[in-house]
Subunit: 239 residues, 2 copies
DNA sequence: TATTGTAAGATTGGATCCAATTCAGTTTGG
DNA sequence: CCAAACTGAATTGGATCCAATCTTACAATA
């Protein structure tokens, strides 16, 4: 969800402790997180015009960090900037969704295979941890934004052991660009139960270090989500 | 090579013609192109510190557009920015090269397959055009930067008909990040002859709309380049 | 009426100036 | 003699102000 924004050096310990434990955060990074949150949370829908002055006033900063934040968000695929016309929350056509998901389908199964080749027991434990966190969040009925974050954390845990940071960054961007549309699909209880079951199957195969099976499950997992999102987008476009 | 920088609305007709044909270019875009050129051309080697003030003075602009240009270049993978520490031309380890090229190996053969499904006769003609432009440039002995640009134009022509702009953007970024290291490999006459032969084979298979063969050739083409670059990087790291 | 031209307001792009952080060299205390 | 603390310049991050561009509404003309 974060996209690797720099500036935050760790958790943000809210309280003003003495000898403040490194809560250094550049204003640009704060603004970027703020806007990204609104977009991912659906508060700024696709097509929404983002006015620099409005954001600046809202956060009590100047327009400079807002502009630089928008540039980063454009790199993450969340907004589109046109010269002298400002930033608009990027919209996703059905074709774009197919585009993004098929790219993920090429990359993620491959990466998970590499991950299984190299993963340590600790890495497997981390996958289990993030899976359980996701399950707990569903049980608690957490909001979609949090669910999305944890869903992505699970995917990250699966792929991270591959040791391919550049590919991971690409996959992250692809995910970010479609993320908020997945939110609609992940809400219904039925879809949640399905995602949960698929995550468990994935983890089981991963734990057994069964590369072929894991790749197959991951492919199906992504393709399923893609199918539903594309159907939804086509439906919206028609209606 | 461009990465889709905005601001240029067409060719830049140098002369100050009456009714100037839309030579509008934002300063940020100019600066970004300038720095990108230096990096790709090898003038700024990996690890080189980029000082905002120096660039600003050199181009006679303020530091604001320089900073924003650097943000765009970071998205293109050409520089790395660390808070309060400025931008450094990104370096490529052998592991990074493997990372980048294997990602391309997942995406490009897939995309060329899609391209063949959908390509028109005009699209095939464009591939031939860009291939011939590359051949002429080699015959003329053009500089490595120009060769790199034309090599990429050929790849673009092969993949563009797939109609997958998001995937294309990803591939472009992956290419940009390794591009300038390929320069070293592309210079020797022997390597040039090989690249040229492979391009011809690719075009032939593409023209026949032989998806399987084209994908196979493209895979080998990319893998070959990857192998040489990785070997070179390992050599440098050792020596 | 449809189209073109024009002017005012809104909005973004860029320059200049100030603040915060980093870094290199030096000093100080052990 | 070395490590830690300090001091200054160098450098980046951010605020304020000005310029360039776009948008919208309205008027003029065919």
């Amino acid at each position: 969800m974060d996209g690797g924004r720099r500036g935050a050096e760790g958790q943000q310990g809210q309280r003003p402790v003495a000898a403040s434990p490194l809560r250094r955060q550049t204003v640009t990074a704060m603004v970027a997180d703020h806007i990204a949150g609104k977009i991912i949370g659906g508060e700024y829908p696709g097509g929404h015009q983002i006015r620099q002055e409005a954001i600046a006033a809202e956060l009590g900063v100047s327009r400079i960090p807002v502009r630089e934040a928008l540039l980063q968000l454009e790199a993450d695929g969340l907004v589109v900037i046109r010269t002298h016309r400002g930033a608009v929350v990027s919209e996703l056509s059905a074709e774009d969704a197919v585009d993004l998901f098929e790219a993920r389908l090429q990359l993620e199964p491959f990466l998970v295979g590499k991950a299984i080749e190299r993963v340590s027991d600790g890495g497997i434990a981390e996958v289990e941890t993030s899976m359980r966190a996701y399950e707990r969040a569903i049980a608690r009925g957490d909001d979609p934004k949090e669910l999305s974050r944890l869903n992505w954390a699970f995917h990250t845990a699966l792929l991270e052991p591959a040791g391919r940071p550049r590919s991971m960054a690409v996959v992250q961007t692809l995910f970010n660009s479609a993320d908020r549309y997945l939110r609609l699909q992940i809400e219904p209880a039925k879809a949640q139960a399905k995602a949960l079951r698929e995550h468990r199957e994935l983890f089981e195969a991963f734990r057994r270090r069964d590369a072929a099976e894991t790749a197959r499950l991951l492919t199906r997992h992504i393709a399923d989500a893609a199918g539903e999102i594309v159907a939804q987008l086509r439906h919206e476009a028609a209606g």
